[in-house]
């Protein structure tokens, strides 16, 4: 199996220009076109362990990160994300190319992969059990996902919980973890050997850096896991650790608020969601220290799942 890190940089760049580059992320294969010199190095660094092709082949989605016009390739340069030729977002500076790719890929899958119930949630596996970290932006979800991943938990996804049915599995889609602002230094300090992509400064979310997924998680990116625990994390500076059980009905209502496609799926979405909250007890966790929350979540898994 060809992995991206084993392909010469010029071959990857040429395949991206010629429409022959494919990247396999779990069950989903992307065709990625680009003539931006900024994208290939970050892709090779962050996706080095992922299966790829530089000779074409089948794909699920046709995406591109490229200048919006020929002129913009040289003058007042910028980059657009495209899905099958459509540009759903405004162009960004070329040094935001990788962040743009990650946002575009999230949108592509969240808005189109309707065989899954898709929640805005990190997904990890620990002790053979699937854990959903469902939270709104700014709650520290990605920082916690990074901490757990670098502590040895398996990352299935940082942003998208893909819930398949009817057997009810969390389908892995492990892509680099998006860290913002102060979280970047927190994780860099705690894990000096962790690998990061380029910093995108002054985005609408501040500074964004992506953390490379450990190879062990990539190796298991076709192994789904049943949901066993739902966590609603909330980072509050200075707050003492608080771990409270919440009811399955309340958990379902909160997950609906975090869903990309629940209204589209109708009854199927309702039944799948009801099955998830029936199978996985839900907890609300408020914390200020990563050192406290990791053993606390492990304890919940051991005692209550």
């Amino acid at each position: 199996m060809l992995r991206l890190g084993g392909v010469a940089a010029h071959e990857v760049a040429r395949a991206m220009v010629r429409g022959r580059f494919r990247l396999q992320i779990g069950r989903i294969t992307l065709r990625i076109d680009s003539n931006l010199p900024e994208l290939e190095p970050s892709m090779r660094r962050l996706y080095a362990h992922y299966p790829c092709s530089v000779t074409g082949g089948e794909f699920d989605f046709d995406v591109a990160v490229a200048p919006p016009s020929l002129l913009r390739r040289w003058f007042r340069r910028n980059a657009s994300f495209r899905l099958s030729g459509d540009e759903p977002f405004l162009p960004m500076p070329p040094d935001h190319a990788h962040a743009l790719f990650e946002w575009g890929a999230n949108w592509t899958i969240g808005a189109h992969s309707h065989r899954y119930l898709i929640l805005h949630s990190a997904v990890l596996e620990h002790r053979g059990r699937g854990v959903l970290l469902a939270a709104t932006s700014g709650s520290g979800k990605s920082t916690l996902a990074a901490e757990l991943t670098l502590s040895g938990w398996r990352l299935l996804s940082d942003e998208l919980a893909l819930i398949d049915g009817p057997e009810l599995f969390l389908v892995p889609h492990p892509r680099p973890i998006s860290l913002k602002n102060q979280s970047i230094d927190v994780i860099r300090t705690r894990y000096p050997d962790a690998e990061f992509g380029p910093a995108a400064q002054d985005t609408h979310k501040g500074t964004i850096v992506h953390l490379r997924v450990p190879d062990a998680s990539v190796d298991r990116s076709c192994d789904p896991v049943p949901p066993a625990l739902i966590v609603f994390p909330k980072w509050s500076p200075g707050a003492p650790l608080r771990v409270d059980r919440i009811g399955p009905g309340e958990a379902a209502m909160r997950l609906i608020d975090q869903s990309f496609n629940y209204p589209i799926l109708g009854r199927v979405g309702f039944e799948r969601l009801a099955s998830v909250v029936a199978a996985a007890p839900a907890w609300e966790v408020e914390y200020s220290s990563l050192d406290e929350i990791v053993p606390a979540l492990d304890g919940v898994l051991v005692r209550h799942v």
Binding site: A252, G266, F270
Partner: protein, 71 residues
């Protein structure tokens, strides 16, 4: 459980009920049994209700109205 265009699932903290016509989902603080009793009562004014449901009659009927189970 299925009532009209609704599908529902009972949990310890209430009945999760989904309206297939509007796509809306609500959590009602009732057991499935209380919900069915209240529904029957809403269709017959004179129906006698168990005390625990009668005590919450107005609250329960308001909840059912909110999810379009009664009007």
């Amino acid at each position: 459980m299925r009532v009209h265009q609704h599908v529902a699932c009972e949990f310890p903290d209430g009945v999760l009920i989904h309206d297939e016509e509007t796509g809306a989902t609500h959590l009602i603080d009732l057991t499935a049994w209380q919900l069915m009793v209240a529904l029957r009562a809403s269709q017959a004014e004179e129906a006698s209700l168990p005390a625990e449901v009668e005590a919450r009659r107005h609250e329960i009927l308001a909840a059912l109205e909110q999810v379009n189970l009664i009007s």
